[in-house]
Amino acid sequence: MNTLALILLILFSGAIVAFLSEKVSKFLPSLIAFISITAAGILFYTSPADVFNFKLSMAGLNFTLKIDEFSRLFVHMIIGLSWLASMYAVGYMQNKERQGTFFFNMLLSIGGMLGIVAARDLVSFFVFWEIMTWSSFLIVVWTGADFRRTGIWYMVFSAMGAYAMLMAIMMIYSDIHTFNIDEIIAAIAEQRLPHLVEASVLLLFGFSVKAALMPLHVWAPNAYTQAPAAYTAIFSGVLSKMGIFGMALVLLSMLKFANPADFSLVYINGFIGQILAWLGAITAAIATLYALIQTDAKKLLAYSSVAQLGYITIGIAIGTPLSVMASLFLAVLHALFKGTLFLAMGAVERQAGTTDMTKISGLIRRMPWTFFVTLVSIISLAGVPPLAGFVGKWMLYEALITNGNVFMVVVVFFSSTAAFLYSYRILFGIFLGQEEDDTAHVKEAPLSMILPMVVMALLLIALGTYPGLLFDPIAQGMTVLGFENVTWQMTVLSNVWGNTVNLMYISTTIGVAFVAALLFLTLKGRKGSRNVGTKDISTSGEIPLEHENLTYQLDFFKPFERAASPLYRRKMTKIYDDLSNGLDALFDFTRKIYTGNGQTYALYVVIFLVALLIYVQNTL
């Protein structure tokens, strides 16, 4: 039996078994999910690289699945994060209702993602894409809260994207009667397909829906917020990256090989890339602005995921080796730190009951490990050295500057500076500030939930000094995409102008200075040090009561909001609401054709008959 098919089979059958096993015991589905993902992972990592292709001819179509170096990178993300998340889910989901449905869809979407990255023909790509979409939809609505706003919007936007893709697939099919991606690329390289540009634009449209690009992002915040945290990690971590994968497929492996003799096409290609990059930049900026006014931690993270995906899109769209490397690096990193963050928020939600930052504060002494992983991943989200986030940010900036997209750099820099605000917001709002009496009972999450987060946090720390560990697979993947001799070093970053940053020195310096300061500050005057609680603060002599909490949580960044008020004035959701209302009115009007009156229907028949007769006699 073919290994790749076996992996998919394990996942899908595991999904069904998990779904049925809920009848047996509420604990079983999570276990089955974990086991099947583990089995798939073991199977993937133990078998040699060349066995991962799989051909199937069915219903007059040829399906080709193949894992090359580029998709291997994404498979690492998918399997790794899903494995950790499913381990986490064992603890997170215990004694919740309808676990069978949850794990069924979880495994299904994981299988769908694997299928997507492995698909080498557009039909199976689309099939797996749709499977992933509807299973993730079922998880998004799993809690059942706010079905219309969240579920229907997600499904409608995904359907718009998917059908745009289908349209494009059909266009390509009508040009050259094949669905096989390699054949398509070969065909593009030699002749000019009449519908190539439209098709690629439509494909990009479809992918930007998943990647939550600017005008199409409105589904994302709600969906990320509503899904259970154990899945949101996967959802925002890897599932959204499928859009990035598709963009890379279109921009870097289809359009890039377009016939260079065809200047118009090359020009259009660059043009599309620019448009996409600018959309990404605007997405990053706007989403960041909206992230920092949120009061719910999960929603804040959802907006920040949208922003991060904006960065990643920029890198792919610019298309220079450095930028592609940067964005793939950021993609993996985003999977790591945003996965960690969502898992951490899930832990907080499970232990403290809510992630609303206006309700809880000062959990640092209660949940130290959760705070630690949150801190690490927030630092790498903010891109502050010496953690891994800095590497990706640096490469992105250098790529943009050396490429001459200077104003885009400024926009990106603005958004990532504003990202500090919400980074601080989430750390402060949940873990710092005064301790509530009603969160005094909160305990640290169980080990099965802590362990995955800690693993990812350690990875982030390691990658901050040794990004080469990740550059290696990325570079191999890029060679598949057609970038020749991608150069990378283990601990040194460099751009095309030859400017370098030596991460080894950086982390050594920081470490030495930090340890020295730590020793100095800790040892000096240790006997005289008084440990005080968060209630013992200088409030101009006033003594806060036991129950009153002085933590500053509401309108956290109000001054910034006031300063940037013009940017907050327009709301995308409102536009879509108006659109849907207008459509609703139109539908209502159209529906009135069916009056429910027999005579009218008879009249329709007669009129139609006469009209058709006249038409036919006159034209044919």
Binding site: I401, F420, F428, L521, G533
Partner: protein, 307 residues
């Protein structure tokens, strides 16, 4: 091996110099302010005395691990940035003997991000103390940072794209070879960066972060003793770092310590003077200020740099 020893010695000396210069500048500022207000004022070494006093406090208030880390993060960030910033021009006698720390291993983007490190750690520490004033001060500080980073980045990007480099040495070299300082060759970018520096130094009118009467000195309101002292020293080093960075980028760098002192002091007096004659802005006013003319100047400079 003793090459390493020399390097470490140089690093220590650099740190000491930076610390001393920063503290003294602070004292001089206090003295000058007093003179301007027709007072005698303290000695110019008052800051050293204060620091000594703070470090010799008997009891220290421990607010939790983040509160404990905050000063360390500041000092760590200060030292790290200092290591990666070229204090003097390469090749000069002073430089080779003392200051060749690591300045070839970092570039501008790295410095931009590394400078934030300290203030983020500070913010976290201030957050854990549980004092609402600290959190309010932190939000103001971060918001203001978003304000002045924009013209600053515009200026830096202008330099980078114009001279096709992101390293400070190369920019210094360009100035040395051409003999023209950036503040004359890129006046608009220089002005933008200068306006940004007003926000960086947090003298009035941009001192709402630690407004003493309103916020009880804001983020640091719960810190005293050794913590406050360490923060002070870190802040002094940071002042030196910012000034040196500006000198390197716009004033053609320095060949010797006296030249460096003259240039940095001249530069340092600009925010101080501006502060004397100005009241205090509210946060949104400050942000709007930075997004106004400074950003416009930065954009002009950038356009000039491109074309």
């Amino acid at each position: 091996m003793e090459g390493l020893a020399i390097k470490i010695l140089g690093a220590v000396i650099t740190t000491i110099v930076a610390f001393a210069v920063g503290m003294t500048y602070g004292g001089i500022t206090r003295k000058l302010t007093a003179r301007v207000q027709n007072r005698v004022g303290p000695t110019i070494f008052q800051n050293f005395i204060d620091l000594l006093k703070l470090q010799s406090k008997k009891t220290n208030i421990y607010h939790g691990v983040m509160g404990h880390f905050a000063p360390m993060w500041i000092i760590t960030a200060a030292i790290t940035v200092l290591m990666f910033i070229p204090v003097l021009h390469p090749g000069t006698a002073w430089y080779n003997s003392w200051f060749p720390n690591l300045s070839f291993h970092g570039d501008l983007i790295f410095l931009l991000y590394m400078m934030v490190f300290g203030s983020l750690g500070m913010a976290l520490g201030a957050g854990q103390t549980g004092n609402p004033n600290s959190a309010i001060g932190v939000t103001r500080g971060l918001s203001q940072m978003v304000g002045f980073e924009i013209p600053f980045v515009l200026a830096l990007v202008a330099l980078m794209v114009q001279y096709q480099t992101t390293s400070i040495q190369d920019i210094m070299t360009v100035q040395r070879e051409s003999g023209v300082w950036m503040m004359f060759s890129n006046p608009f970018s220089f002005l933008a960066a200068l306006f940004a520096s007003l926000g960086m130094f947090r003298y009035s009118p941009f001192d709402i972060v630690g407004a003493p009467a309103e916020l009880a000195s804001g983020p640091v309101s719960e810190f005293g003793g050794k913590y406050l002292g360490t923060m002070m020293s870190g802040g002094s080093i940071f002042a030196f770092i910012k000034l040196t960075l500006y000198v390197d980028l716009f004033l053609g760098g320095a060949y010797s310590i006296p030249e460096l002192l003259i240039k940095t002091f001249a530069l340092y007096m600009i925010p101080v003077f501006y502060g004397w004659v100005n009241p205090r802005y509210r946060t949104e006013q400050a942000i709007r200020y930075f997004w106004g003319w400074p950003t416009a100047l930065g954009v002009i400079g950038l356009l000039i740099a491109i074309f």
